[in-house]
Subunit: 295 residues, 2 copies
């Protein structure tokens, strides 16, 4: 964050039906299956998006669902998107919201981070720096992700209080002990990350905290003083960057401001080329957040 | 269930380092990447496992993590495993425990069920009949999965009370209103499935209920009278089939008895060929559950 002077996370969330004009399959499209053609066009779109908006960002956050939808070619494209971002010194946050236990969680974690040794040779992982993790199944569902992330100096981001209306159904339920489910998960985040807090004051266990409910941000920071917050819900989902000040309390890297559609779709609302509009929107967000976190 | 006289779900959870003897990459292995070679051997293992144990089962439950670990070749192998199972009239429960919202959940759901129409042609989905879904993010995280499942006469299985120790961290938390988080999720399962209950008395919204805590089974059935229960934790995780009677209250299809390692690894404990041991263990489980559900 300090190096790039940016807290902006570029959400990579490509809809094959709404790619940038000109994003098309590479040559030989007539010999491709629909999934291969779509994946090829998606890759082209993502590369252009990263080239355009990346310089104003600190990380990309590929939405794994969009790539899974395209099957094996989608997984290939995802790998190349990650590679493209890393070549430009962007961090990678794999947004898959996985959550499982034991050997299963270990397989997910190795798949997202460093890969696995097999009798057939070493199978590389995606090489992400962080991954979003669903904590419903508890501590033992998080541990394998954290272990794999730490092996590469990365971290995890637990879903704490998401930005969707359904957050009321489970996350917001009041507990008998006081507080809510999400506040209890927040305590877990704080506990799991405690030993990792470095000189910058930031832990390697962070939280996804929806930016759409401003009242929550202060409370979240109180419960997780050192956790990096991934803040989705900026732009398309209605969150406002000005409401995020508490996120930056432990330092500038305390708040990672995530935006997808508001950047990739900036040209739709504001005109201009997709590249120029995306760059301008990412830069606007970067500068707003940077200034806000200075206070 | 009635047709096959089985409630057994064959968990497909292949560890590339512990495949059945003889499971090897198809010809041309020297030209394969490690991921391709591992995926090819995994596919061979899975086909043999399905051929051996499948006749005693009603469904397979591929653990998506194990296939994701092998990247794009893993996704290809997963597709072929599903196809192999379907050719033998086995149902397919995609065990990915996905949970996300909005367009993201929709992408996951289409990926697992029926696929998607794109400007590049129709991209097929995995063709699952059911999928496990993580309900932490609430109702709007479940809806897209249910919509996609219903389009193919399938259903979803929500994580309600899992069989791992970490279930105590969130799922078991007592709520201010009384009951626990998992009991509240159970009510959501019942609500979402209510309109779907057919002549067999079974809804298309089910629940993953760990068989390791017997006391929970009666309570789960009370809260979800029509939900099909997916019951993991049989065998390797220590659950016992005799403790499951409440699961079968709405009818024989009310309890789907899932086992992975206890079937695929039966030869390790009991000797014999992997095929014979797997078939015998699946048949033992089938007959125990069938008899139990008759009472």
């Amino acid at each position: 964050v300090a190096e790039r002077e940016s807290q902006v996370v570029l959400g990579i969330d490509p809809d094959p039906g709404a790619l940038w004009p000109g994003a098309a399959p590479a040559e030989g499209a007539d010999r491709l299956t629909p999934a291969q053609a779509a994946a090829s066009a998606v890759l082209e779109h993502c590369r252009r998006l990263i080239d355009a908006a990346g310089p104003a960002c600190v990380a990309i956050k590929p939405q794994l669902a969009r790539f899974e939808l395209l099957g094996a070619p989608g997984r290939e494209a995802l790998g190349e998107v990650v590679e493209h971002a890393r070549a430009q010194e962007l961090l990678v946050i794999a947004d898959g919201k996985r959550g499982d236990i034991d050997v299963t969680a270990d397989a997910y974690a190795r798949s997202l981070f460093g890969g696995v040794e097999t009798p057939f040779g070493e199978v590389a992982g995606l090489g992400a720096d962080m991954a979003t993790v669903n904590p419903l199944m508890g501590r033992d569902a998080v541990a394998p992700f954290l272990r794999a992330a730490r092996a590469g100096d990365g971290g995890v981001l637990l879903l704490v209080r998401t930005s969707n209306p359904g957050a009321a159904d489970v996350e917001d339920l009041p507990l008998a002990e006081g507080g809510t489910v999400w506040e209890r998960v927040a305590r877990l985040v704080d506990e799991l990350g405690a030993e990792s807090v470095g000189p910058a004051g930031i832990a390697d266990v962070g939280a996804v905290v929806g930016a759409t409910v401003p009242g929550h941000m202060d409370r979240a920071r109180e419960l997780m003083p050192s956790a990096p917050f991934l803040l989705p819900g900026i732009g398309a989902q209605g969150g406002r960057v000005e409401e995020l000040q508490a996120a930056f309390a432990p330092g500038r890297a305390g708040g990672l401001v995530s935006a997808s559609r508001s950047i990739a779709g900036a040209h739709v609302a504001g005109g201009g080329s997709p590249e120029q509009a995306a760059r301008a929107e990412a830069e606007r967000l970067r500068s707003d957040a940077w200034e806000l976190s200075e206070r």
